[in-house]
Amino acid sequence: MIRYIVRRLLWGVVILVVVCAITFILFRVLPTANPAVLRAGRDPQPKLIHEIEQILGLNKPIYVQLWEYLKEVFFHFNFGYSFYSQAPVLQLIVERLPATVSLCVGGAILWLGGGMLVGIIAGLNRGTYADRFSMTAALVAISAPEFWLGLVALYLFASDIGKIPIFPGAGSYVPFSQDPSKWFGSLILPWIVVAAGSAAVFARLMRGNLADTMSEDFIRTARAKGLPERAVTRQGVRHAVNPAFTAFGLELGFLLGGALLIEIVFNIPGVGTLNYHAILSSDFPVIQGTVLLAAMFIVIMNIVVDVLYAFLDPRVRYS
């Protein structure tokens, strides 16, 4: 098991290097703008631009820049400095992490809880109106782009512009440390929107698994033993949750990607908005840092999910 985890971690590092290289090349070959020009002020002299390029190291060949960047990241844990504020990228990210973590953790809880609940109800009542309604709703949630869902949610429910103004709208985010109740209120809509798609996938998976499981032989055995139907259902859910759990690791990336857009739609000052502004202004170190952080998170979570799976299913043994 230890060997398995170590091997997975080493592979994780390889993946991160590849992610690094891809973002690096992508934004330098196809930059949204030349960062040196953006920094040089109005009508700059070509000489000034050249000087700035030299200071930022943009005049060196790409592979040299990449190598220097990787060296700093992996050996000194230094993610560089923003082209604009000169602040360390790591510090910028850490400052904005609480908002993103709030959004993602709440979203994930709602995703798992809501998805499982709907999936179980639909799976046990296949063909009923409850099943059809929830699966249709799930299909809508899967199909709709999250930023659009976010805008619709604001249009319908935001306290400032909404038709039914019941939840705080965009720009209402308050850090947890300042006012927990306002923090909670401001995140209700973003949580729902960010969880909707993944919860829908989870619900559909859970429904299918549970419906299959309930016709398994061991469920018949459980009934033949004279267990009450509630206990029988519990055994079915226990079996059905495993494959859905695997999907959790895969869906995590989508959740994170969705969170980025939702932060922008709801104007939440998190890593997503940081990344968004960095892309608009070609702030390469910040783009790199945020992408790398997201990739690292997904790699680690997938290892965690796989290791947990061995505990969930005794038949799985890693070596």
């Binding site: 398994e216 055995t221 033993k225 004279g226 267990l227 009450p228 038949r315």
Partner: protein, 366 residues
């Protein structure tokens, strides 16, 4: 077989499942009885309704939307009319069941011990510790070595035979008076099959419970059963004591089953050989065709499309279960004349093919 001794009495049981293609009459008016402490074998091909009949005994076909008619009297209680909650108290308690494939019948994510413990605690208010001790005791009793350690294993860590032993231990946790075993040996290796049958015989001897053993293999019931019911397409076509059935089978379908059991050098296995009175066979003779659709079963005698001896009128007349001449305990549903049927069997048992038997029996009559 007087009525007072009967533990289970199935009377006119019909089970039908509505499906999109039509109503499947899986069981169509069958009656049988299980005597206290004795063994009834129900034999038939897959799709003959033998499993459905037994699942219905435990009420396990109810949630599939089955339309159930008739009575299943367990002593003086009707299991068909019983409420779901009352029936739940009978299941796994007074009547227990063992299934065909022990691997898929055990929950893969729970230890064997947990699954045994919950079987007790579903019916008895005992502590987990006491239930666990009982589980270890039962595992040892059914022949699992080192039960105190193996109880915490998962089903996939057991061998096939051990899994079936664990299933049997689970069924016996509450000392049932009736054990229904549905193809208990079919999924097992041949050597393990014999062990499991021997185990069941020993348990019956020591615990005195009645057993219904469902199988497609007459060899299995030859060892164990006191009475045998042969089912075909939802009906019982022959019903007799095991001794009688092997010595003087009356129904062409039973003949087919007897002649399709593999043997070594033309001889039947062990006690089968003794019971079937030196049947000599030159080769394995399969029953032609396949089991009929239960949505629209053949008219008249349901076996007539596959019966080598059928006459045109058999497609119209429905045969009834009737006592065989001079054998009140032996009933059979066949339209052939008794005399002719006996002559056929005399020829078949010496190794004639059905065609030879028909020719021979015809000559004798002429």
């Amino acid at each position: 077989m007087s009525t007072e001794e009967l533990l289970l009495r199935v009377e006119g049981l019909s089970v039908a499942f509505p499906t999109e293609d039509g109503v499947v009459r899986a069981v169509d008016g069958i009656s049988y009885g299980v005597t206290k402490g004795k063994t009834l074998g129900i034999v038939g091909e897959s799709g003959s309704g033998k499993t459905v009949a037994s699942l219905t005994t435990l009420g396990l076909t109810r949630r599939q939307g089955a339309d159930i008619k008739g009575r299943i009297m367990f002593e003086d209680r009707d299991l068909v009319a019983m409420s779901e909650d009352d029936l739940r108290k009978v299941r796994g308690n007074e009547v227990a069941m063992v299934f065909q494939d022990p691997l898929s019948s055990l929950h893969p994510l729970y230890t064997v011990g947990k699954q045994l413990v919950e079987a007790v605690r579903a019916h008895r208010d005992v502590s987990k510790k006491a239930a666990r001790e009982r589980a270890i005791e039962m595992l040892g009793y059914v022949g699992i070595p080192d039960p105190a350690r193996r109880i915490d294993d998962f089903p996939h860590e057991f061998s096939g035979g051990m899994r079936q032993r664990a299933m049997i231990a689970m069924a016996l946790m509450n000392e049932p008076r009736l054990l229904i075993a549905d193809e208990p040996t079919t999924a097992l290796d041949v050597t393990v099959q014999a062990q499991i049958l021997a185990l069941m015989e020993r348990l019956q001897r020591e615990l005195g419970m009645a057993i219904v053993i469902i199988t497609h293999d007459l060899g299995v019931v030859a060892e164990m059963a006191d009475d045998i019911a042969v089912m075909y397409a939802g009906n019982i076509v022959e019903y007799a004591t095991a001794q009688t059935l092997f010595e003087r089978p009356e129904h062409p379908y039973t003949w087919g089953l007897l002649r399709s059991i593999p043997t070594i050098e033309g001889q039947t296995w062990g006690s089968m050989r003794e019971r079937s009175g030196n049947v000599e066979r030159r080769e394995l003779v399969p029953i032609q065709g396949s089991p009929p659709s239960l949505i629209s079963p053949p008219s008249g005698c349901r076996f007539h499309p596959r019966c080598p001896y059928a006459e045109p009128s058999h497609a119209e007349i429905v045969p009834l279960l009737q006592p065989v001449a001079e054998e009140p305990q032996h009933v059979s549903a066949c339209l052939l004349a008794d005399e002719y049927r006996r002559r056929l069997w005399e020829r078949l048992r010496t190794g004639d093919t059905p065609a030879e038997a028909i020719a021979g029996a015809g000559e004798e009559a002429a």
